[in-house]
Amino acid sequence: MQLTGSQFTRTAAVFGNDISTLPDFPAEIRAPAGSLPGVSGFQLSFSSTDIHTPGDAPDVLVAMNPAALKTNVGELPAGGALIVNSDAFTQQNLNKAAYASNPLTDGSLKQYTVFEVPISTLNERSLEGLDMTSKQKDLTKNFFALGLMFWLYERSMDPTLTWIQQKFSARPVIAEANQRALRAGYAFGETTEMFHTTYRVPKATLAAGTYRNITGNEATALGFLAASKLAKRTLFYGSYPITPASDILHQLSAYKHYGVKTFQAEDEIAAIGAAIGASYGGALGMTASSGPGIALKAEAMGLAVMVELPLVVVDVQRAGPSTGMPTKNEQADLLQVLFGRNSDSPLPVVAPATPGECFAFAIEAWRLALKYMTPVVYLSDAFLATGAEPWKIPSLADLPDITVANASKGDGPFRPYERDPETLARPWAVPGTAGLEHRIGGLEKADITGNVSYDPDNHHRMQLLRHAKVEGIARDIPPLEVFGPAQGDLLLLGWGSTYGALRSAAERLQAQGKSVAHAQLRYLNPFPANIEDVLRSYRHVLVPEVNLGQLSMLLRAKFLIDIKGYNKVRGKPFRIGEIVDEAALILSDRERPR
């Protein structure tokens, strides 16, 4: 099902539509087919205008079996088109999905436009004569459904036919079967009189440039590769497999000819330990994980704060606590990465807002880490990581220079904690440099000399210095940009992957004549210098988050402003409609029903 979704995505993107996707799949690799937990879905929105989310509700739902129908039909609005594989509605499958009666015959679907297609039978017929088991034949039926969708939306089959040819080049029979299935689905749409309308979605008007379709994880990996080229240093990526971060490791592992060194460690701690070791040696040492792994890395992140070495830690957030729902979305690690270490242990935190933006922020994370000699946390999430959008490929000349120099021998004894007066960064003295032999470690350092120190005043000074170094980054990052009126009734403020829903909600409210603005924070520590001014320019500030109120708590504590939270943790991104409704409620100045 994920394959079918991504094929449609490619086709729509290459055609020139704006796209936004939400793959929704279980953590179980091969959950029993037809069972409720085994349902795998792929939501795709494509449009002739600039869109920001995979859409609140689909116009068309394709349900390949009763379980898929049961799990997803709630998302389909009344009047929506429902295409079902009627062959799959057997008593056995109805039982698996816990349907007491057949929804196709009991009238429960009458609010939808239902198209019953015997997909399995039609598909099998199209494969007659091929040397395959009937189980193998059945596996191709998703391509039949995809072919039908291509006809319905007037898409070309060519990209997918080519893709199938390449993917199954070693198994010609399978390639032939999948191609036949795709064509049969398309032909079925064309010849049957079942469908009275086809959907025509013209090209979107995107800015001029060369585009590709990209997921957040792909953009993140590419961004780190670019960062190493821009910094002219080896990229060392230490990681332990974890959903939904592993794809970054997979992609970087394929960049060996770029000199990238990837290391699958024995555990999360070893992954970050090795990254710190590599950074100590002058490389771009980095690691990535999801919430549970970040918890394990916490002590080593504190070490990186103390020894003030550059390091980037990626947290692709997922629903928690504990193992939680590994493949589902949440943005609830913000306070963990800010405060989940012993003592005051400040480090910068950045958070891209869209899949494409992941590229620029991977470079930005490294720019900050190198310039300020600090560990930096890069917050992504499951929605960003696996969701896709068209990405305008930047030209190499537009990418920033993020090179920094290693320390070299000067006059007098080397002082490992003598800071740059502007950035407060300490020198990066890389082993192999004669005359700079020195010792660092997790024990408190004496200011300037870096020797071990238990002096009370020194510790106080060092804590303040570490704090000031990170706070000072606010002078070096762009101000918070506002979409909409600079002053008004309501500011929708978000961070990370809520961008699309919030921006779309603001557009809708503005179209209704409401005084509503939207801003998305990409820098969560430190905040942009103008944030307080922005917050104070609106009568109300609403902070929707896929957590129970983490950013809103920070902002309330820091600025003593009565910020309102909108918090839902369903493992899914926000719908535009619910943000609009919540905003309307606030604008009406009524109390929210509890």
């Binding site: 990209p159 060392f236 032999e437």
Partner: protein, 352 residues
């Protein structure tokens, strides 16, 4: 960068310059803060003494440690040094060596640091054959935290945390190292200065993961832990000094030896019951299989004399060389990576 010479490689002119260094060049300006009488002083001194022999410029040497009394050693070495967090020194060393194969990397650890909190990393750094020299100070006690039982403390050991005696069976560090595929495994004693120097030097020259257990005395919390066989008056009779290619003979009068009966070693006396040198096990550090080394690693006082020296020494490709080899191969096959190409990978389309 200077290559680290192995024993049989002639020294380059640059290394001949470096070899002029003395122990003093490796002494840092920091005041040593171990308890007076601690075995760590001797380990530090022998380490500083052998450093000039490697012919490696001191800026190319890095000492990485974890937490515990042993963890302080890097502060006292006038090289690069990194005092990390508890148990994790091997992970930093692995990353450093991967990024910088040109450096000579030492890991300093203790029995708690290496075998308790950091056990996993010892296993994996050794099985990967990361080119580092791990020196584990084994005093069978937690010293820095003031006297709790350690993974090498004996069963029944009474400590502050085990007032009625430890119920945990100790593990044998060298058996663990061998099981983890370490390519160089050795043991020495803090007070046996010449033997310790020789062992450290051989470990440092080995290319690959070296694991050296140093029996070390904590005179405050576990005084005399090894005294029964390391003291001058007993050592010849109660320790077996391993020598490659030689029969396993020990004893003040060189009259005792180790014979193998089936899978079991046994102590025999030369000349008694017709036992001759020919009956004894001949040590073979470079044996391809690990069985002999594993048997030796299980021998301990009082059942056996305690073996010291090199248990195993084999050559295998190092982790960093394999990583670099893959990069070389991939680059030969696909050409040096071009960022512009990576950005344009997959299907693209143009909007005018």
């Amino acid at each position: 960068m200077t290559e680290m010479p192995s024993g049989d490689v002639p020294l380059s002119p640059e290394n001949q310059r470096v070899i002029q260094l003395t122990r003093k060049d490796f002494v840092s300006d920091q005041e040593v803060r171990w308890c007076p009488g601690c075995g760590d002083y001797s380990i530090l001194a022998q380490t500083q003494k052998v450093m000039p022999d490697f012919g490696v410029p001191k800026e190319n040497i890095v000492f990485i440690s974890g937490i515990g009394c042993s963890g302080r050693l890097p502060y006292y070495m006038n090289t690069y040094g990194f005092h990390t967090i508890h148990g994790r020194a091997p992970t930093l060393a692995t990353g450093l060596k991967a990024a910088r194969p040109d450096l000579m990397v030492w890991v300093i650890t203790g029995d708690g640091d290496a075998l308790s909190i950091g056990g996993n990393h010892v296993l994996h750094s050794m099985r990967r054959n990361v080119d580092l020299t791990m020196v584990m100070f084994n005093n069978r006690i937690y010293g820095l935290t003031k006297g709790q039982t350690s993974p090498t403390s004996e069963l029944g050991k009474r400590t502050k945390s085990t007032p009625l005696g430890s119920v945990d069976r100790p593990i044998m560090p060298l058996t663990v190292a061998l099981a983890a595929e370490a390519t160089f495994v050795a043991r020495s004693v803090d007070t046996h200065t010449e033997h310790l120097q020789d062992t450290l030097e051989r470990a440092g020259r080995h290319h690959g993961g070296s694991f050296v257990e140093v029996l070390q005395n904590c005179n405050i919390f576990n005084d005399g832990a090894w005294r029964d066989f390391t003291d001058r008056e007993f050592r010849d009779d109660r320790m077996l000094v391993l020598k490659d290619g030689e029969p396993m003979i020990f004893g003040k009068d060189r009259d005792k030896g180790i014979r193998l009966r089936g899978l079991h070693p046994e102590v025999v006396t030369l000349g008694v019951d017709g036992v001759t040198e020919a009956d004894l096990i001949v040590h073979d550090e470079q044996a391809e299989d690990p069985y002999l080394a594993l048997i030796l690693s299980r021998m301990f006082w009082p059942e056996f004399p305690v073996p010291v020296g090199v248990f195993r020494r084999i050559e295998r490709p190092t982790h960093d060389s394999l990583m670099d080899e893959q990069i070389r191969t991939a680059t030969e096959k696909s050409g040096a990576g071009d960022l512009g190409k990576a950005l344009l990978a997959g299907e693209t389309w143009t909007v005018d």
